[in-house]
Each structure stands twice: as C-alpha cells, then as structure tokens.
C-alpha cells in the first residue's frame, strides 16, 4: 500500500525520466511491481483474512485440524510463484540485453564521446574529440546519444544520473562503457552512489542538457579561457579536495585518459597526500 502511495506521489528522479534509457527502466520497474503486486496483495489479504477468520474464538469457522497435506494445494503453492518468476525472468533476460549499459543507442546522430574520471572527491569529464574538460559539471547536447567511458583515479565510485538512466561503477585500472541520452534540455542531478571517503556527500554534479547550438557555444567559450589539463594540473586533481565551484579546462593533453586507465599516471594519493585547502562542507 505504501508502495502504491509512493508511485502515485511520483518521485522526481528515476520515475521522471528524461531519456530513453531511464524511460525504459521505469517501464520495467513499474511492470515488475504491478506483476508482483498481483500476487503479493492477495497473499497479504488472505493471510490476514485466514488468521482472523480462524481465530480460536470464532464459532462459525470450520476447523480442520488434520488438514496438513494436499497435493492440489502443494501444486498451486509451488506453481504460482514459479509462474510469476518465469514471467519476470523473461522480463529480466530481455531487459538485461536491451538495456545493457554497454549497448549503443540507435543512432539518430553520431554519439558524443565523454570520458569520466572519478577522483577524491570530484568528477572530471573529458571531451576527447573536442579537447576540453570540465570538473563537476557535465554539459551535453540534448537528443544526442552519449558514449561515456568511466574510470576512477582513486577508490571506486558509481556514476549515476537518475533521470538519464543506468548507473555504472568507476573502477581504477578499468574502463566501463555506458550509453545514455537526454531527450530534452534540462538540468539533471548526477551523483556518486558509492561511499568514497569523507568528501563523498559533496560528490555530486549537475548534468546540463542543452540545445545543440548552446552546446557549441559552450564548447567555444570553454576553449577560449581557463587552465589547460596537463599532467601537472592532473596531479593537483589527485589531492583529496572538494572544489567549491565547477570549472573547465580549455585544453586536455591527448591520451590523458588512456594513461589514467593504464595506471601510467599514479592513482589518487589518499589522506597521506595531505588534504587540499578546500574542505568538504561537513568538515567546515
């Protein structure tokens, strides 16, 4: 019943999809709930009803103290859950294959490549083809498939933009592939879904889906100002810190992401590297 209430309430995140992946996942989520509720609600009602009707003080109940086995009942109690699970298993199988994070989206346009690096405690988004990078702010064109490659430069994190869809682990020394797409312009909250240390609670970012023309303007303005992301600048990022504002890099050293994944650049140095002067909110 609570579940029904919350469905009616309709949260702002996963249940308000802004892209094809999250829309498909919401459909699977709601379908599965409805299928199971069809069994669970009658079971709960039957449990309460049977318990109440056969209360010892009810003179009208027909007692059958020897009713301890019935082949017919056994058949039903094994087959009902089994059938539900066969049905749901089908949904899981098809859904897993259709919505595999590494599955490219049907291309309306060429996908935009983005390399995601989780750091202590910030997100670095590299646009390899555009040669720019952004920290704690992901700007993407709406209506264009996003080809995200994820890694971590320190501990594990989970990249998650609930309104766009699937989350995926960012792991050091590995690169995960995730395809997402934003249908409409808007600002969607992105976060890390896995504890990564003291600054974890501040490890969120805004995903801004904008029109193509606005995106191009953003790229142009980013290229024209700000620092460049070379190895020295990257080493600064490795210190544990929470940047107070998002910012961008006008240029990125080519091959930086590959070097991070291949561990040619050192991983984050943890608390022993000293905490940069920017403290997490909670530490202030």
């Amino acid at each position: 019943m609570l579940l029904l209430g919350q469905l009616a309430g309709c949260g702002r995140a996963q249940l308000q999809p802004a892209g094809p992946i999250s829309a498909a996942e919401r459909k699977i989520l709601l379908d599965s709930i409805v299928i199971m509720l069809a069994i669970v609600i009658p079971t709960i009602i039957a449990t309460l009803g049977v318990a109440w009707w056969f209360r010892s003080s009810n003179p009208r109940a027909r007692r059958q103290p020897d009713f301890v086995y019935s082949g017919r009942v056994e058949l039903i109690v094994w087959s009902i859950p089994a059938l539900v699970i066969i049905f749901l298993g089908g949904i899981a199988w098809i859904g897993s294959h259709d919505l595999d994070p590494a599955q490219p989206l049907p291309a309306k346009a060429a996908p935009l490549d983005i390399q995601v690096v989780s750091l202590d405690w910030k997100w670095l988004f590299i646009y390899p083809k555009l040669g720019i990078a952004s920290v704690n702010r992901l700007v993407v064109p709406a209506g264009v498939p996003l080809h995200l490659v994820l890694t971590s430069a320190s501990v594990w994190n989970v990249f998650w933009v609930p309104q766009l869809g699937s989350m995926l682990y960012c792991m050091s020394g590995m690169a995960g592939t995730l395809y997402l797409e934003a249908d409409h312009p808007g600002v969607y909250r992105g976060e890390s879904a896995m504890i990564s240390g003291d600054g974890f609670a501040d490890m969120h970012f805004d995903t801004e889906a904008v029109r193509r023309s606005q995106f191009d303007a953003w790229v142009a303005s980013t290229r024209s100002a700000g620092p460049a992301l070379d190895d020295a600048a990257y080493r600064e990022l490795l210190h544990q810190s929470v940047p107070p504002h998002p910012y961008t890099y006008r240029a990125v050293r080519p091959g930086l992401f590959a070097d991070i994944v291949m561990l040619k650049l050192p991983p984050g140095d943890g608390p022993r590297g000293g905490v940069a002067n920017v403290q997490p909110v909670g530490l202030r």
Binding site: R12, A13, E25, T47, Q64, V68, W93, G165, I195, G270
Partner: protein, 678 residues
C-alpha cells in the same frame, strides 16, 4: 619501534566530545555493573553457573543477552544517523563525515554480526538439542569457546569507540578504499580483526550444530521427523560451514595487503579489487540466509503451535529450505549488477536470484495453510509471525525487483536498496528473533513474559518499522544514495523527518520490551510455567521442565511421530494418564564446566588489540597463551561429571507430578464442558 606500537594518547578522542563522553558513559556503566556484581558477591555464582558453563541452554541465553545489548548499541547508531540526516539538509549537521561514516559502518557491522547472528545462534543453542531430544550439543566446550569468541569480537568493535576509530566505509570494507593507501588508520583493522575472531567462533558453531543435528538425535527421530526449526538450523549451519571460511580468507587477504604490503586488492602492482567484491559476496549472500532460514524455522514452530495444527506441507517446507540453502550460493553477483559484467552474466544471476523467491513464496503459502482450519491464538509470538508475513511479502517483492538487472541499474546503492534489506532483516530476522524470544522465554526461565507489553512492543515495532523505512523506498526512487552525511535536495528532507519519527516509534517499542522484562521478572511468581508446556506445544522442547534440568531429559524420549510431544499428549489424553510409566532412573554423565572459552576469548581480545595497534610482543604473548590454553585443555582427565540417579529421579518426579496434575485438570475441564454442553 615502541613498546605500544601505534598506540598513543592521540587514539583517545579528547577533542571530540561526542564519542568521548558516550565512550566514558559506557565505561562507567560497565564498571558500575562490575562493581555491583563484585560487591553483591555474585562473581563465584556467575563464574560457576554462566561464564564457565558448557550447558547449551546457558550459552544460548548468553548469546541472546549479548545480542540484546548490542541491539541497543546498534540502535543508538541508527538514531544518530537518522538525526544527522534530518539536520543535515543544506547544513553540516552534528556529525562530521569522519564520525558519521564510522557510525553507519559500526551500525551495519554490529547489527549483522553481533545482533542478528548471536540472536539466531542463541535461539538455536537454546532449542535445537531440546527439540532433538538430546542432552547437549556435540562439542559442549567448543560451544562455549564459540560464544566467548563472538563476545570478544563484539568487545573489540566497542573498544574502537574510545580507543582509535572504526572503519569508515560501511559494513563491507570495499578496497581500494579499505587499503592502506586510502585508509591508513586503525578503523579497518578493528573491523577485520573483530570479524576474524567472531568469525572463527561462528564457524565452530556451524561445525558443532551440523554434527549435532546429523549425529545426535533421540531414538526414532528420522530426518522426516525433525522439527522444522531443526531443519532450518541444519541448513543455516551448513551455510555457515561453507561460507564463513570464505569470509575468513577474504579478510585475511585484506589484512595481508594492509600489514605486509601484499597486492590482492590494491589498485597497483596488479591487484584486483573486483575479486574482493566477488569473494565477499560469495560469503555475504549465503550470510543473508544463515540469518533468515532459522527465522523461517521459528515462524514455522510458532504458526503451527498457535494455530493448534501441525505444519502444513512439512515435506514441501523441507524441500523449500534446502533449495534456498543451495541456490543461495549461486546468486552473489546480484550485489554488483552495476559493475558492467555484461547482459548474459547479469540476467543469469538475476534469474537465479529470483528463483529463490519460489521456495520462499511456498513457505509463506504453507504458513497460510497451516492457519487455515486451525484455532488461531493471537499471542505475542503469533503476532510477530503475522506481522512478519505481511512485512516480508513487501520485502520479498522489492528484493525480486532488485534482482531484475535493468531495474537494479536505477535502484542499486540508493535508499531503495537500504530500505529493502532493512525490510527483510528487520521484517524477517529481527521479528523472528523476537517471536522466538517470546515463545521460548518460558522454556529458558520458567515463567511467561507479560502479554500486554509484548503486544505493545509488537505494534510499536511494526508501525515504527514502516514509518522509518517506507520513506526509504520513496527516497530511493527520488535518487537519494545511501551514506550521505549531508545533502541539498529539498524533496528528500520531509521524508527523512518522517523516517526519524519511525525511529522514535521503534524506540518506544524497545522501551516496551525492556518494561516487559522488568514487569515479568517482578511478577514471575504469578507467571510460573509449572508444566513446562505453557503454549500447548508440539515438539520435544516442551516435554521437559521449564527451565529444563542440566541433563534436559531424564530418559531420552522415543520418537514415533513427526510431532513427538503432541503425539505423547494425545495418547495421554486418551488413556487419562502419562503415557510412560516412571522409568528406571540411571546416573547421567554430563560435560564438566570449563573456563577454556573465557580464557580463549580473553587471549583473543588481547591478541586482536595488539595486532590492531602493532604491539608485536603482546601478539606473541597472546598466541603463546592460546597454545598453552590448548595444551591445558587437552591435558585434563575428568571432562565429565556424574549426576546421581537419585538426583535425576528427584528432578524428573517433580516434573511428572506437575504434568500429571495438568493432565487431570484438563481432563476434568473437558468433561465439565461436555456435560454443560449436553
């Protein structure tokens, strides 16, 4: 190298008033209790009757006491977390991240390892040998060692409150965050060593109970006559034996990484952190069923007793239990669908996880049909059971939902997941523990708990749970991830306030439970259970006195039926007298008390503490002490003592007389009823 290793005054949190004062408060309470015990002269009694006891009933009671005390500790953590999240909307709250992270880690660790585990193991200790109709477990001294090692682990976890820190990355320390590079402090070491120590205890419990259930049963008790609780205990202990070595190995690898620079899970030199994930969940998922299966067994006993009917579909229940036992080893990957293992792997593990829902669903239907046609009595244990079925049906639903990989992609590590496992751990395991506690309390102590306060506790817990964790589901669907020390999303705040209200309701439930104990103890003379059978029970634990004598049964019962005690009672009612004539009493050998467990645990605490703080001389001393204990234990000649036949006869005759009187009384009442009906 210093004499005290890494231990310095900085380990005491003088600059953090909250842990300092709470630690001091606990310390003063413990010292006060100890002083009171010493002053009252209870020490010899406690030493003789409890600390060195190898009696499975005493050990079971001590397990349950440990679990209850730790439940309070873990619950205080829960209150702190909920309060922090209420206060921390766009604000730092009262717990800094370093402290908040320790609080949720300690909460999870304590609730699983030192509340749920000891509670179910305690109830198994108390009940399984009685239900099997035997005098003790297979290895009584080992049983005592198991308990004391568990207590040693719990002590180490609590020590981290005042000396040093606890782990800060949740109840499972995922590398690389748990590696030395990112967690140089002692927190992870406290976690690993306390779990290694208690884990050894749990493993020995598993070995002990598998052997007990398979090799020590009353004559005539075939496998298909074993009570359901024994079956689930068997399944649970088989899982312990098969899963806990994996935990031991995994934590050993992490410790090797941290202490001597190995590279199992590091992010450098070729270490593989995904391997930790696979190993820890190869233990972690069976662990869920180690807890849940005995709880299912308790519900089976309770529903059958309070419906005055045998369990419906007994064999079906056995198949379901063993199916869960086996499948639980094949589903671990569902804890990390979002690692990107690929569609085939994900869907195979997803479907395997869903398959567990089939035997579980069968169990629910079988409990339903057990009530069907019975005389359902709404005593407190029965209320917990019905509350469980309703709560667990929803928890199972969300569990199957999380097993659908594409749905999990949007729910994993969110509060939806957290709400789900609280739904099943509280709704199944904790409710089950409370049902079992109320149900078997008279067996352990000889008097029945207060019903009115018990029902209050039930309703407060049930409502409190849903008020606390219903919002968890909503928050998960609103994209709130777990373990957030603060947040700035306005929509989350009201739900977190509601959840805090739920915690307050649960707190009232806990107060009701404490009041229930106090009231019941004070009025125990009115609540005496003289016959040993307060609920009109069906299995052998009710066939002996409450509390049972040290030897449980003067003569081992002959089992001729699936519900041996019900069968005996039915025949006794037919012939109007006890079925068995007074037996020829013989002297009984019982295992002697032994301080081995207590000494081992003491040495384990010392060694563990020394390892955490790198005090190497003390480590060597502790290990040498452990070996010396082993030799001394191996050297003793008299490990049994004899209870003389007269003593056995005296105890048994008293119980026979009480039962005989009760039988006459019931007979009389039935005849009166019949006459008045005519």
């Amino acid at each position: 190298m210093t004499l005290l290793g890494r231990l310095t005054w900085q380990a005491i949190p003088f600059h953090e008033p909250l842990p300092l004062f709470s630690g001091l408060g606990v310390l003063i309470t413990v010292v006060a209790i100890l002083a009171w015990v010493v002053a009252k002269g209870y020490v010899p009694y406690l030493w003789r009757e409890w600390i060195t006891s190898v009696d499975h009933k005493r050990i079971g009671v001590m397990y349950c006491i440990l679990a209850s005390v730790m439940l309070l500790r873990g619950f205080i953590d829960a209150i702190m977390m909920r309060t922090q999240q209420v206060m921390a909307y766009d604000a730092p709250g009262f717990l800094p991240p370093s402290h908040f992270d320790q609080v949720f880690s300690a909460h999870g660790t304590i609730m699983i390892f030192f509340v749920a585990m000891p509670f179910v193991i305690g109830l198994m200790n108390l009940v399984v040998p009685l239900q099997l109709g035997v005098r003790d477990v297979a290895f009584p001294t080992l049983n005592s060692v198991s308990f004391w090692l568990t207590a040693a682990g719990a002590l180490l976890v609590n020590l981290s409150l005042v000396i040093g820190e606890f782990d800060r990355m949740g109840w499972l320390p995922y590398p690389p965050l748990s590696e030395l590079r990112y967690s140089p402090g002692v927190g992870v070491d406290y976690y690993c060593w306390s779990l290694q120590i208690s884990g050894v205890g749990t493993l020995m419990t598993g070995i002990n109970f598998v052997t007990t259930i398979l090799k020590l049963r009353a004559p005539g008790m075939h496998y298909t006559r074993m009570p359901m609780f024994c079956w689930t205990a068997l399944a649970s202990n088989l899982l312990i034996v098969a899963a806990f070595p994996v935990l031991t190995a995994t934590l050993a690898m992490l410790l090797l990484d941290r202490y001597v620079g190995f590279h199992f899970f590091t992010d450098t030199a070729g270490g593989n952190s995904m391997m930790f994930m696979n190993l820890i969940w190869a233990w972690g998922h069976p662990e869920v069923y180690i807890l849940a299966l005995p709880a299912f067994g308790i519900y089976s006993e309770v529903v059958s007793t309070f419906s005055c009917k045998p369990l419906f579909g007994y064999r079906s229940m056995i198949y379901a239990t063993m199916a869960i036992c086996i499948i639980s080893f094949m589903v671990w990957l569902h804890h990390f669908f979002t690692m990107g293992a690929g569609a085939d792997v994900n869907s195979i593990f997803g479907i395997a996880s869903m398959i567990i829902a089939v035997p579980t669903g069968v169990k629910i239907f079988n409990w339903l049909f057990t009530m069907y046609g019975g005389y359902v009595r709404f005593r407190t244990p029965m209320l917990w059971s019905i509350g469980f079925i309703v709560t667990f049906a929803i928890g199972g639903l969300t569990g199957v939902l999380l097993a659908v990989p594409p749905a999990d992609f949007q729910l994993h590590n969110s509060l939806f997941l957290v709400a789900h496992f609280h739904n099943v751990i509280i709704g199944a395991v904790i409710f089950g523990a409370f049902a079992g506690y109320t149900y078997w309390f008279p067996k352990a102590f000889g008097f029945v708990l207060d019903e009115r306060l018990g029902k209050w506790a039930f309703w407060l817990w049930l409502i409190g749970f849903w008020v606390a964790w219903g919002p968890g589901y909503v928050l998960g669907l609103e994209g709130m991830t777990r373990r957030l020390q603060h947040y700035d999303v306005a929509e989350w705040h009201p739900w977190l306030v509601v959840a805090e209200g739920g915690v307050v309701i649960i707190l009232l439930g806990i107060i009701a439970q404490i009041a229930q104990i106090v009231v019941s103890v004070r009025t125990r003379e009115q609540r005496r259970d003289v016959t040993g059978d307060p609920w009109d029970g069906r299995n052998l634990e009710w066939a002996t006195a409450s509390p049972p004598p040290a030897f449980n049964f003067a003569v081992l019962p002959d089992v001729t039926d699936q519900e041996p005690y019900w069968d005996m009672k039915a025949r006794a009612r037919e012939i109007g007298q006890l079925t068995r004539p007074e037996p020829r009493y013989e002297p009984i050998h019982m295992p002697r008390n032994s301080p081995t467990g207590f000494v081992t645990a003491f040495l384990a605490v010392v060694t563990g503490f020394a390892l955490i703080w790198h005090i190497w001389w003390l480590v060597l001393l502790g290990l040498a002490g452990a070996y010396a204990t082993f030799v001394v234990f191996a050297w003793r000649d008299h490990d049994e003592e004899l209870i003389p036949a007269e003593e056995v006869a005296r105890i048994d005759r008293a119980n026979r007389a009480a039962r005989s009187a009760a039988l006459q009384h019931r007979q009389l009442r039935r005849e009166t009823q019949r006459e008045s009906a005519e």
